[in-house]
Symmetry: C2
Subunit: 332 residues, 2 copies
């Protein structure tokens, strides 16, 4: 199969754009709503009084990595953000900024990955946009996905909602996504046995909220890692968060990379894990839904300080701050 390169006319609004959209986008992602192809998609919101909206641009480089690609990432990132509000993820927009000269075969692979992940997450792509910029004005492909989810009246999850004596849980190993990107970018010269954890978690959150009412905050530790997520919760809920260092689960691959090159794994991004702040009586429900790797890593204490404190294995306590700058080349 010979590859074609995307040329600037694919973004022209003319014949080549229509061909790209019908041959590449609609063939894989088409549905009754998207196929109408008006400038706005009209979608049903089934009597909900509130919706959740979230938006992210994906600028990951390279666009393929062990465990996923930019297509899987953009769908997961969006449905996982919607689920943090307790909303049922439903509709996504998909906007491409393509660098002139990008491989059509690669784009088709990415669109296939978007289709498969959207199916897995149970969401529809309902509207979108395609722009092509000159060579050297992007990095192969940037994708923006914006999602809409439906909310019931009772759910009130928020980073502002952590309660005194709540427990802090994570739903599994932390940092795999960023280490997979370190590997894909060849930033280290030894082999690393780590894949990105990128996965849609929205259906698991829906199940969790059906079996317990005592979850107060769900947040995915993506850019900024666990440290970033916890500091945001501590600051927004005006509480201290105390973490037991030894209880934070990391894969062997993440541990060995961090030991060898001196990263703090608390700052490494995950794309298929949540931090969950809940009343202790929800612990078993979280473990039932997210499995054995879900674990309690800390507690919430009301305080005006908004600090995140880590109790080390030696019994010491250190403050876990937000980083001033990135510790690695950007991964998103």
């Amino acid at each position: 199969m010979t590859d074609k390169k995307i040329n600037i006319n694919v973004g022209s609004g003319g014949r080549q754009m229509h061909e790209f959209i019908s041959e590449v986008i609609l063939k894989k992602l088409g549905n009754q709503i998207l196929n109408i192809m008006d400038d706005s998609a009209v979608v049903d919101i089934k009597g909900s009084k509130k919706i959740a909206m979230t938006s992210d641009s994906y600028v990951v480089s390279p666009v393929f990595f062990d465990g996923g690609d930019i297509g899987r990432l953009c769908v997961c990132g969006t449905v996982n953000d919607l689920a943090t509000s307790g909303a049922k993820a439903k509709y996504l927009s998909l906007s491409f900024i393509i660098e002139e000269g990008a491989s059509l075969i690669d784009l088709e692979k990415i669109v296939n990955s978007i289709a498969a992940t959207a199916k897995e997450a149970g969401v529809l792509i309902v509207t979108g946009d395609t722009k092509v910029v000159e060579k050297g004005k992007a990095d192969v492909l940037y994708i923006n996905t914006t999602g809409v989810g439906l909310l019931d009246d009772k759910t009130k999850l928020s980073t502002h909602n952590a309660q005194d004596n709540d427990i802090v849980m994570v739903t599994g190993n932390i940092g795999d996504h960023e280490v997979a990107l370190i590997k894909a970018r060849k930033l280290v010269d030894f082999d690393i046995n780590v894949k990105s954890d990128v996965a849609p978690l929205n259906k698991k959150v829906e199940e969790l909220l059906k079996i317990t009412d005592d979850v107060h905050c769900i947040k995915d530790p993506t850019r900024g890692g666990l440290a970033g997520a916890l500091n945001e919760i501590a600051s927004n809920s005006i509480c201290d968060i105390k973490i037991f260092e030894d209880s934070v689960p990391f894969s062997d691959g993440v541990k060995s990379v961090c030991n060898l090159i001196g990263f703090d794994p608390m700052y490494l991004a995950s794309e298929g894990k949540y931090v969950i702040i809940c009343n202790p009586k929800s612990e078993l429900a979280v473990k039932k839904i997210f499995g054995d790797k879900a674990s309690v890593i800390g507690v919430i204490k009301k305080s005006q300080k908004g600090a995140v404190l880590v109790e080390t294995s030696f019994g010491g306590v250190r403050k876990l701050s937000v980083l001033d700058s990135i510790q690695l080349p950007r991964i998103c």
Copy 2:
């Protein structure tokens, strides 16, 4: 006032990102919903059963031009697209991809422009995202805006909905936006007295739909120009569109540029004009809302061909096709 340059850490998820968001974004765009700054925004949809969603990425270069800038453009493009479905534009997401080294003063100007235009259009920015990519991986700034609007049950505007014997109207001079960009990019070496027409039209559409029930399709002739918009309607509604060439209004500046360098103005983008397809009895309503420049430029004839035909001033007829490639360097 000394300028600062955006560095890669503004996209890190760390302290510098939080500072940028609170100092530049929230200070100008903050509202009760956005200020919560959770990963999803929760918004009220007031008993609507349907919503409209639209998404566009803005990659215009340069980011400032006569009559507007990328900030005004992204808000107008989004609310104007929402209004084409008859929806009341309400909530926008705002996602920045910033090139490392971009001027902070320029970004602040653009955010001010977004704030002013959002106020003019009556919409709120409710969620967003900031990414920073390395120098040479973007073109100063790309913005994605995705909008949500509320729909009532009766409105059924669509490019699939043009009816036999409907009239084709435009709401004013066509092509000013693209010519303003030709000027801003210094693609011609003579002076052009044309400003971009970029403007939010959503409130005018709301007024129009209050006073007439006989509008069938509204479309903004942006990328691809009037020719692109009309061909999309002809193809989707399975009809022919006959346009009277002399009746299409162009400003003197657009006419003279097209005469001098041989562009066909039918392909030039506007950002503050609509094509409106309606029953002849809505003509006066359209003129009442959009003013004197609103004019009838053609008619719809049911046909399986889906062709756009232009009757020239000499009585000849030519087919107005979709362009195969762009006639100019890309403007979006």
